[in-house]
C-alpha cells in the first residue's frame, strides 16, 4: 500500500487494516508523521506534533487538554501551559487505542468563524491556500481534509465543528448538548460548548461518538447514557423519512451557488425515498443577536479565571476577539443592562428552541446549508467583526436549542466544498447519522481530495 493510500483510509478502514495486519501501527504512525512534516508548513493546521506516536493517529483541537502535552487554546495567555491531566474524551480514546498525533490550531478560546483569531497564525484551507478553513475548529478540519490524521476532535459552540467541516469538505458532528462530557475542554460558553468528531466519513463520526460520549461524573449536564446505535438504520434508501426544509435557511444572504448545490442534495434525498416537507423556524432571524449576547456573557464569566496566578499569563495577553467578547458580555451582564440584554436574549432563546420543537412535529430531520457561502479569502472579514458573526446564521439556532447537527460534503462551488447540514431532535444523533450515511453512500463528494 502506498503512503498516500494509507493516509486516505477512513477510521473504520484503518481499524480493519490494523486488525488484518495489512500494515503495522508503526508504519501507520510513521506515514502520518511524514505527511504532517511535509504538509503542515503550508497549512499550519498543527500547533504541536508528536515526535513519537503510537495507536491510531488522531488530531486534537488545542482547546482540549492533554496530559504533559502543551495546550494553548490558540491563545498567548496559555503559552507554555502543560496540563497535568487528560480530558475525559482523551482518556476514553486512549483506552480504544487512539494516539494524539498532534494538537490543532483554532481561533483563540474557540472564538471565531475563520481560524484567523488564533494567536499562532491562521490555518489554511487545503482546497485553496488563499482561503480560510473556517472556524473555530480550523486546524482539525484542515488536518482531516489533507489526510494529516485519521480523524480529529473539535468543539462546537455556535457552529465551530459544522462550519469548518463544511468549508473543508469533511464530515463534522456537533452532538446534542450534554451528550459528551466537557471535562478537560477549556470552557468558552458553557451552555453551548460540545466536543465532537471531524472525520472522513459519517460511519467514522458515529464510531468516535460511541467512544467519547456518556457521563463521567465531572460534567453536570452530561447525564444521559453514552451514544449507542439502537435501530437498524435505513439501509440503501430513506423510505419513511420526513425531511423538513426551513424556508428561513434559504433567504437573503445565501450564496446562489451554495443554494443550488444544497437544493440538489435535497433532491437526492427525495430520490432516495425521503418525503420533503416545508417547515418554518420563524425566529431564525434573531438567532445571531441572541447568541452573541448569551455566549459573550458566558465568555466574560469563564475567562475571568485567567488571572496569571494559578496558570497562564496576565490579562493583557488576550487577543482582540477575546477582549471584544469579554467586553460585550461584561456589558450585557452589568447593572442596568441585564434585563435589556441577557434576560431578553435568554427569552428569545426559548422561542428558537420552541421553533425546533414545533418543526420536529412534522419531520424527523431538518436539512439546509451549513454556511451561507463557501470558504472566503484570508483577511476578507477580519476588519468587521459583525460581518464575521453573520456567517454563522445557519449553525447558531441549533446551538441555542441544544440539538445535534451534522455537516456532510454535498458538492462544490468554484472548486470549494459545500456542506449539507442535517439537524436532529435532541439526543437523536442516530437519525441524522443514518440519513448522512445513506446520502454519503449514494454520492461520491466525500471521496474528493484536495491537491496540495
Amino acid at each position: 500500500m502506498s503512503d498516500s493510500d494509507l493516509t486516505k483510509l477512513t477510521l473504520i478502514e484503518t481499524i480493519k487494516g490494523l486488525k488484518n495486519k495489512q500494515f503495522s501501527g508503526e508504519e501507520l504512525n510513521n506515514t502520518y508523521r511524514e505527511r504532517i512534516k511535509q504538509l503542515n508548513p503550508k497549512l499550519n493546521a498543527y500547533l504541536w506534533t508528536a515526535e513519537k506516536s503510537s495507536g491510531i493517529p488522531a488530531a486534537i483541537k488545542d482547546i482540549i487538554i492533554t496530559k504533559n502535552i502543551p495546550t494553548t487554546a490558540g491563545s498567548k495567555i496559555l503559552e507554555g501551559f502543560i496540563p497535568p491531566y487528560d480530558a475525559t474524551v482523551i482518556e476514553r480514546l486512549k483506552v480504544k487505542g487512539i494516539g494524539v498525533v498532534g494538537k490543532t490550531n483554532c481561533d483563540e478560546f474557540a472564538m471565531g468563524s475563520s481560524g484567523e483569531n488564533s494567536a499562532y497564525g491562521v490555518a489554511k484551507n487545503s482546497w485553496d491556500l488563499s482561503k480560510v478553513p473556517g472556524g473555530s475548529s480550523s486546524g482539525s478540519s484542515a488536518a482531516v481534509a489533507s489526510d494529516m490524521c485519521v480523524f480529529a476532535l473539535g468543539t462546537d459552540t455556535g457552529g465551530s465543528i459544522r462550519q469548518p467541516a463544511s468549508l473543508c469538505g469533511v464530515v463534522g458532528l456537533k452532538p446534542s448538548y450534554g451528550r459528551v462530557s466537557r471535562y478537560g475542554a477549556i470552557a468558552m460558553a458553557s451552555s453551548f460548548d460540545q466536543i465532537g468528531p471531524i472525520t472522513k466519513t459519517v460511519a467514522d463520526a458515529r464510531q468516535v461518538l460511541e467512544w467519547i460520549s456518556g457521563p463521567d461524573g465531572y460534567d453536570g449536564n452530561c447525564v444521559e447514557e453514552g451514544f449507542r446505535v439502537k435501530g437498524k438504520g435505513y439501509g440503501e434508501n430513506l423510505k419513511g423519512l420526513k425531511v423538513g426544509i426551513p424556508k428561513e435557511y434559504f433567504g437573503k444572504g445565501l450564496d446562489q451557488g451554495v443554494e443550488k448545490v444544497v437544493r440538489e442534495a435535497i433532491k437526492k434525498l427525495e430520490e432516495l425515498g425521503a418525503e420533503i416537507v416545508e417547515v418554518t423556524l420563524p425566529h431564525t432571524e434573531y438567532g445571531i443577536a441572541a447568541y452573541y449576547i448569551i455566549m459573550a456573557s458566558e465568555v466574560s464569566s469563564n475567562l475571568a479565571k485567567y488571572d496569571g496566578i494559578r496558570f497562564g499569563g496576565t490579562r493583557d495577553k488576550f487577543g482582540d476577539e477575546a477582549k471584544r467578547r469579554i467586553m460585550l458580555g461584561t456589558f450585557a451582564l452589568s447593572s442596568g443592562y441585564y434585563d435589556d440584554y441577557y434576560a431578553k436574549a435568554a427569552r428569545v432563546r426559548t422561542l428558537i428552541k420552541e421553533d425546533f420543537a414545533k418543526a420536529f412535529e412534522k419531520c424527523d430531520v431538518i436539512v439546509g446549508p451549513v454556511s451561507p457561502t463557501v470558504a472566503w479569502n484570508l483577511g476578507e472579514k477580519t476588519q468587521d467583526p459583525l460581518t464575521m458573526y453573520l456567517s454563522d446564521a445557519y449553525t447558531i439556532p441549533a446551538s441555542l436549542a441544544g440539538i445535534p447537527g451534522l455537516s456532510v460534503p454535498c458538492g462544490f462551488v468554484n472548486n470549494l466544498p459545500v456542506g449539507l447540514q442535517i439537524l436532529g431532535k435532541y439526543m437523536d444523533e442516530e437519525t441524522i447519522l443514518n440519513v448522512g450515511e445513506v446520502y454519503e453512500k449514494a454520492t461520491s463528494w466525500h471521496k474528493e481530495k484536495p491537491k496540495i
Binding site: 491531566y85 449536564n221 431578553k344
Partner: protein
Amino acid sequence: MKLTADQVKKVAKLANLPLSDEEIEKYSGQLSKILDYIDQLNSADTSEVEPTFNVTGLSNVLREDKVGESLPQEEALQNASQVKDGFFVTKGVFEE
C-alpha cells in the same frame, strides 16, 4: 445603542482588562455597531416567554460528598507563575 469611550472604560475596569486608548476608541465603535444589531431583539415578543438558561433543564446536579482522587500538589502547582512553600504566590489584596 451607542457605547461611549467612558462606558467602554468602565466595562474594561469591571472586566479587569487593561486597554490602550486606541483600543478603547476601537471597541467603542465596534461594540456600538454590534449592539445596534442586537437591538433587533426588541422586536421579538417575549412577554409570555420564560428564559432558557440551560437547554437540559437540569439544576442542582450533585454528587455524593466523598473524597475522590485529586492532583498531587506538585502537579497542581506546575503551571503557576510563582510558587512558594507549596502555595501559589499572589499579589496582596489589602494595602500594607
